[in-house]
Point group: C2
Chain length 154, copies 2
């Protein structure tokens, strides 16, 4: 088994891919000081380990016609299992992310919708889920920053 868990090299590779997943292995290798095959093998290992879960495209939601973004705080009935919340929200294509959180609310849900009417529809449907007591929502006025990776400095 490899002796290094995530070493500096792996972090730099992940960082390079996070900025541009289409960079070639040779190119990344030149930056971190490895050959192309060596970089590929490390990427393969990172995928096996679950550190990298896939490759995706960075999308500007507004440019695709999803103009309205908002966050919905969910207040649930006591004894609602997180898994029940997850299963229910997974059915909404408008839900981009959701987490259970500390504080008054039980879960915080990020939603993209085509317009305000669409957002309202989604909000009402979520509020109507059987385990939901009430909701509180805020609308995004303007997105300031949208990174797809974050963490301690590499």
């Amino acid at each position: 088994m490899p002796q290094n868990d995530l070493d500096t090299l792996d972090e730099r590779i992940v960082h390079a891919l996070a900025e541009d997943a289409r960079r070639t292995y040779a190119d990344i290798g030149a930056e971190v000081g490895l050959s192309a095959p060596a970089v590929k093998r490390r990427v393969d290992r990172l995928r096996e380990r679950g550190a990298i879960t896939g490759f995706t495209v960075r999308v500007d939601p507004a440019a695709l016609g999803w103009q309205t973004e908002g966050f919905i705080e969910m207040y649930c009935r006591s004894r609602t299992a997180p898994e029940d919340i997850r299963r229910a929200l997974a059915r909404y294509p408008e839900v981009a992310s959701a987490s259970t959180v500390t504080g008054d609310a039980d879960a915080l849900v990020q939603v993209f919708a085509a317009d305000m009417r669409h957002f309202e529809t989604v909000l009402e449907r979520i509020a109507g889920e059987p385990f939901v007591d009430r909701t509180k929502s805020v609308l995004v006025l303007s997105p300031l920053l949208r990174r797809y990776t974050a963490g301690p400095p590499l």
Copy 2:
């Protein structure tokens, strides 16, 4: 091959890339009913239009040692420009996303940190920004859903 609406084709291409940005153009083309060069040209156009802003890697923050996630609501001094907030937050690698929002708070900031101590440090530094009156933060207990694209059903 049925005649497809152009918008529908673009959306299906984006959807395919969002799920797996490493799929080949030929593979995506087979799904949507186009040749590989045709798909590539549509992707190029989507990039030029700004609908696709880049390609990135899907990372499991926890697997990379970023165990602590939270949201910080920022309450700012009146007459703080959104651009000032953006510029200040851009300096924090721990900030994954930030938006100005409706409601009591001025901005909602998503933060990833290595651990609780690190999160606290970031929180204190953000709270110490000259334009910040006060902050309110919630910690993520468990992420339920983390999609990298969302929107109206395709």
